[in-house]
Amino acid sequence: MTEIILASHGSLSKGLLNTLSMIVGNPGDHVRAYSLNPGENPRDFLNELELEVTRSENQYIIMTDIQGGSVHTALSELIQYPNVALFSGMNLPMALEVLTRSQNGIDESEFESLIDSSRMGIGLLHHTLTASADEEF
């Protein structure tokens, strides 16, 4: 079982989870969103999560808003545990990939391609771009 955690300053994580649910339906209890609000300490969530992670055999995939941010920095202490993977710069393509692949657990060897998928989700459309070639069977 893979536990998925979206974590951010403010409500980006909750918003992303909301958008995710619109696309794939209710993802279930194993997907959670954590929001750091002004005045709160991310280490409180870190401690809570650390207790959980160390008592569980589940895989934990955590996605945060931005590397270097206090949420990411606090949660980065969890990577000492082999069942945790921490991604930053979460976007909807990343969350979708993680959710889709998490059905069977995500092997470490897949992490790179997961990052690639997230990056490929960032695109540009502009009126000067010419139409791409049509595909055939």
């Binding site: 619109m22 696309i23 794939v24 339906g25 979708l96 889709t100 998928s117 490929m120 695109g123 459309l125 139409a131 791409s132 049509d134 595909e135 055939e136 069977f137």
Partner: protein, 156 residues
């Protein structure tokens, strides 16, 4: 193999494209439509909705029927999208291998009645669907794969 044949007046759009291709594990989408093949702007926006790892082929109804019957699509897990019930009827008339039709959404107009949240049909549509059902084609109404399947027979 054909994993889904769907009627959606918006053809392909993000949420739908991703959900259905994931649910069906489709690796190829066929948009069977006579108007789109001549419309570069519409084609460009449809291509945007294409999920990664999935081919998107856009063909006229006739060419789509030919392609399906020729067997060239057999090697794909194919998702077919048409714009209207009339187009679906034409496609299924030409391809007897289509055994199930998913109704996703059609626009309301002055001559349509609403049979479900997103489905608005004319009398001709109703007649077409009844004929398909008599032929043994399953006709079900569902926006997303995780929604409950509604048998169209009860609503027409």
């Amino acid at each position: 193999m054909i994993t889904l044949t769907r009627v959606d007046h918006r053809l392909l759009h993000g949420q739908i494209a991703f959900s259905w291709t994931t649910d069906r594990n489709a690796n190829c989408i066929l948009i069977a439509n006579d108007a789109v093949i001549k419309d570069d702007l519409r084609k460009t926006s449809l291509k945007l909705a294409k999920p990664a790892g999935c081919k998107l082929v856009i063909k006229s109804l006739d060419d789509s029927i030919k392609a399906i019957n020729s067997g060239v699509t057999d090697k794909y897990r194919l998702l077919i999208v048409v714009e209207s019930i009339a187009d679906a009827k034409k496609l299924i008339d030409g391809c007897s291998c289509v055994k199930s039709l998913n109704l996703g959404g059609t626009k309301a107009a002055s001559n349509t009645r609403q049979i479900s949240k997103a489905m608005n049909i004319t009398d001709q549509d109703a007649a077409d669907l009844k004929e398909l059902m008599n032929r043994g084609v399953e006709v079900e109404i569902r926006m997303l794969p995780q929604d409950k399947k509604i048998d169209a027979a009860s609503l027409i």
